[in-house]
Symmetry: C2
Subunit: 270 residues, 2 copies
């Protein structure tokens, strides 16, 4: 049988494609992956819209027990795994696809929008974005400077940088892991403010002039949802801006041409 | 009233989102933009699925007469402009959005998959792609080396390059433009083979060792459609491969990690 990976897009239950909805209605079992991103609606709303049960699949299921569960099921049943955005935003699913194929299951993909293309709404040209980077929550002993390097290298080529901000859903704390227990902490979503503070802290260490309080950046929240928010301003301005509910992302523009400048003017605060 | 920009995704009539379909059914007038990309189905099939008339909008309408037509209409009516992929793959629409807003129309976006995220199906991680480049058809006096530079710079950073291949739909020839006439030529879509020949010709000139017959590349055709094709191989191998119908795209991988290597193995020819 078949493992269907179905993108849900970014907004609400109606951002699934007509094709995706048909698969959901016919699949034997429907999982919702819910740790790499979040939709603007909850599981209950999806279940009502689909008219069927949806099982939450957390990181543990998808990454660690994938073979035993999803792949095994897909050998004999039609299994739909719903993914917020597009199914291929994360490596996880490439791995899952390879394992499912190796086990003899068919794999079909139903694509949808992801932050990587929907961010085009900001008005910076998508082909002028360099490599995407992720800004992680720092932990003691884990304060990576990779986002700073990505921005630096992109800027040197005149390219924009999309920074995806960390999400911790059902993540055990390091202390719990060390003690061998797994009480999950409440979900945490990095805000634009936290991301900017992290980048400024790296600038303080490195002092390579990649960014500072006067650097123009664009903060975005809930892209593709009805209450999405896009604000362009200096880092100093955005540090004081509340973007409200998750998910937030941050764009550090490279060289702007005039249509891009004009586009960003829409998002400046009066 | 409102100008709705609605992404159609990449495959067929059922790749529109549920939200997008609701808008199409209720809009006063529905245009289909048909010059930057193509869907796997024709206008008649869309019209049948939507149960309503769809007007083809060519480059001239969207870029040159946008203000007079789409924007003017959107002041008093609900206008849907359907775009293959996601509405923000091209600058055109940012410009259109700005003009519509300036004219007092509301603008709403319904996102969908585009080649920029759907290419994730190949198994190379999306965050490891550098800037996207376009490979144009050469004309006398127009033989740009920008794709070569993009690949070179991405490779230097270990990043993959997605090369979008030229499309000429209803494009007048240069000679016709000079003579002031506008008989459009038949549509042309660059093939993987043509793209590779173009890159090798630039390598011949530049001799910087960015690519050669032994370089591993990935050719893709009709991504997101039921008959999509993905083949990984050396440039020498892919020069002899027929990917059949458009659209084609080309990926030049950067540094591969092991899951990516394993993913590409799926697409090697036996």
């Amino acid at each position: 049988m078949t493992l269907f990976l179905i993108g849900l897009g970014l907004g609400d239950e109606k951002d699934i494609t007509v094709k995706g909805l048909e698969v959901v209605k016919q699949a034997d079992v429907v999982y919702l992956e819910h740790y790499t991103s979040i939709l603007g609606v909850d599981k209950a709303k999806l279940e009502k819209f689909y008219g069927r049960e949806v099982i939450l699949a957390d990181r543990e299921l998808v990454e660690q027990h994938a073979e035993e569960q999803l792949v095994k099921l897909a050998k004999h049943k039609n299994v739909a795994l719903l993914v917020v955005g597009d199914p291929f935003g994360a490596t996880t699913h490439t791995d899952l696809v390879l394992r499912a194929k190796a086990a003899g299951a068919k794999v079909e993909i139903v694509h949808n929008a992801s932050i990587l293309n929907a961010v085009g709404v900001v008005g910076l040209e998508l082909y002028k974005y360099g490599a995407t980077t992720s800004i992680p929550f720092w932990e003691p002993g884990f304060e990576p400077e990779t986002p700073y390097d990505a921005i630096k290298e992109n800027k040197a080529r005149g390219l924009h940088t999309l920074c995806l901000l960390d999400i911790k859903v059902k993540e055990p704390s390091k202390e719990d892991l060390q003690r061998g227990v797994s009480t999950p902490r409440p979900p945490r979503f990095m805000t634009v403010t936290q991301a900017l503070e992290s980048l400024l802290a790296i600038e303080q260490r490195r002092r390579e002039g990649v960014l500072g309080p006067e650097t123009l950046v664009v903060g975005v929240a809930r892209i593709g949802q009805h209450d999405q928010r896009i604000i362009a301003g200096t880092i100093a301005e955005l540090l004081k801006t509340d973007f409200s509910k998750p998910l937030h992302s941050l764009i550090v523009p490279g060289t702007l041409h005039h249509v891009e400048e004009e586009a960003l003017e829409q998002w400046r605060r009066g």
